[in-house]
Symmetry: C2
Subunit: 296 residues, 2 copies
């Protein structure tokens, strides 16, 4: 059914999709393109793609069954606009972007209409703090949640006229990757991700940046930080290694929800700070303990 997959953006996620297809028995052809020639070459060398396209024009002319947009969000929106006019109803475009509201809105406008290609907004909740095809893995999605955020009017399994055969086929591949598929409204997606993904990222970045600025001029202090900091510090700053290139687009396309979450955490930290010597601190720990207990 799916014979030709085109991965736009062969970094960590894109190349992992290619590797996962191969590892799970995909017998068609995987074609790839990346704005970064080195990433593209690495993806090719690692067998994540069978064929590297030479230009953006080649992407538009590639005539694949499924297009997987695996770039940051702004280039995804850009590719959606370029691809819509050249694709037909027999083709599916899907993406792995970190925010979904703007993507779903654009999909509603340009895709899933009489005569236009299908678009299925997706978001695998998998990744690493460092990107790149070199770190891609066929098993990256195993056990992870892979969200789809069909916007109203989309022809999905859940509503409308049922999923198109191509969409059903792509969903089946995602399941074969070992991911748990879930549906979520795109606005809800961005609201929840502001809390569970974007806020933790910004906190980790801010904490790492603060430590860098606090101790950079104090080599002895920085040495103590590095020596003393254990698992807690490592975990709390791990995401500080994440690249701006990806998170810029998250901040730009989910600004209000993320700003609200950040403001709420600022207030919460001030509350903790003002209650370091009062029984209120006990309440804060009890509430946090409760949250953790639910996660088992």
């Amino acid at each position: 059914m799916i014979e030709r997959v085109l991965i736009v953006g062969t970094g960590l996620i894109g190349a992992s999709v290619g590797l996962a297809l191969k590892a799970n028995g995909f017998e068609g052809t995987v074609v790839g393109w990346d704005a970064n020639a080195a990433e593209l070459e690495t993806a090719l060398r690692r067998g994540a793609i069978d064929e590297a396209l030479a230009s953006r024009e080649a992407v538009l002319a590639a005539d694949a069954d499924v297009y997987v947009l695996a770039t940051p969000v702004l280039p995804i929106l850009d590719w959606m606009q370029r691809l819509a006019p050249v694709l037909s109803e027999q083709q599916l475009v899907t993406d792995v972007g970190s925010t979904k509201r703007e993507i779903a809105a654009l999909a509603k406008k340009l895709y899933n209409r009489e005569g236009s290609a299908r678009f299925l907004p997706g978001h695998p909740m998998a990744g690493k703090e460092l990107g790149g095809a070199a770190l891609a893995e066929a098993d990256l999605f195993r056990g992870a949640t892979w969200l789809f955020t069909p916007c109203s009017g989309l022809l999905t399994a859940e509503g409308g006229g049922g999923a198109s055969p191509l969409e059903a086929a792509w969903r089946a591949w995602v399941s074969r990757f070992g991911a748990q598929v879930r549906e979520l409204d795109p606005v809800r997606h961005d609201a929840v991700c502001a809390w569970v993904s974007h806020l933790p990222q910004m906190v980790s970045t801010a904490l790492a940046a603060l430590l860098e600025d606090t101790f950079a001029g104090d080599p002895e202090g920085m040495a103590a930080v590095q020596a003393i900091g254990g698992r807690a510090l490592r975990e709390m700053t791990r995401l500080g290694a994440s690249p701006y290139s990806m998170w810029r687009d998250v901040a730009l396309t989910n600004t209000a929800a993320l700003a609200a979450a950040l403001a709420a955490l600022e207030q919460r930290l001030a509350h903790v700070r003002e209650n370091l010597r009062t029984p209120e601190l006990r309440e804060e720990f009890a509430t946090a303990n409760k949250f953790r207990a639910k996660r088992g």
Copy 2:
């Protein structure tokens, strides 16, 4: 040289010290006491201690060579005051408390004088988000940093008249546990730990508590949080499971340094929030990337 070790507080750290002694060939007797009878029994059952003392009075009468105070900081200070009058120069008291300034100051006042027992303030940078003897491990300290914060006037290997033979013997055991021993001034210790340990703890607690309060009245939202939250959320809230009992004493004995670190992070988060759509965000990521790159 060390024939009898008494562990006061047989929770995660205390019981792990007992297990580490046994696993590394200690042939003397390990005696234990805990305010919580269940913890004490678990430590005995797991072989972390050979003998369980029945009361606080029994601790004072136990006549051990080395006393390891492995409780939260306030009870450590309390035990230091109880033990000082009943011990002699031939005995060593050490601790594993999370803050060191108040402990080192009290040690200077009550110990390490003509005729009084020795005190060696210590802090193994190891632990888990959940406490208890049931989670104790002989290898808990392997690869971890174990800080000693001798205060000026102490008879350590680094200054004064050299470490007492008992102190040298205890340091040798800590090395056998697989820990990396480092010396740090107690004031410096608390200042650095405010950043690398206490701040990350409070951030994780505040984040977990905020998520709990935000989604507790919204079961569908909480379900989405649990389903969508991946490794990033798990890591950033892991310490939210930590017990108040231990952290209360950290907050009480390092209030100023911790409050300053919290205030600095609040400002930093506000800075991120105000710059979600400006190139300043790039700088923040670059600075955070720099910090992470140093940690390899």
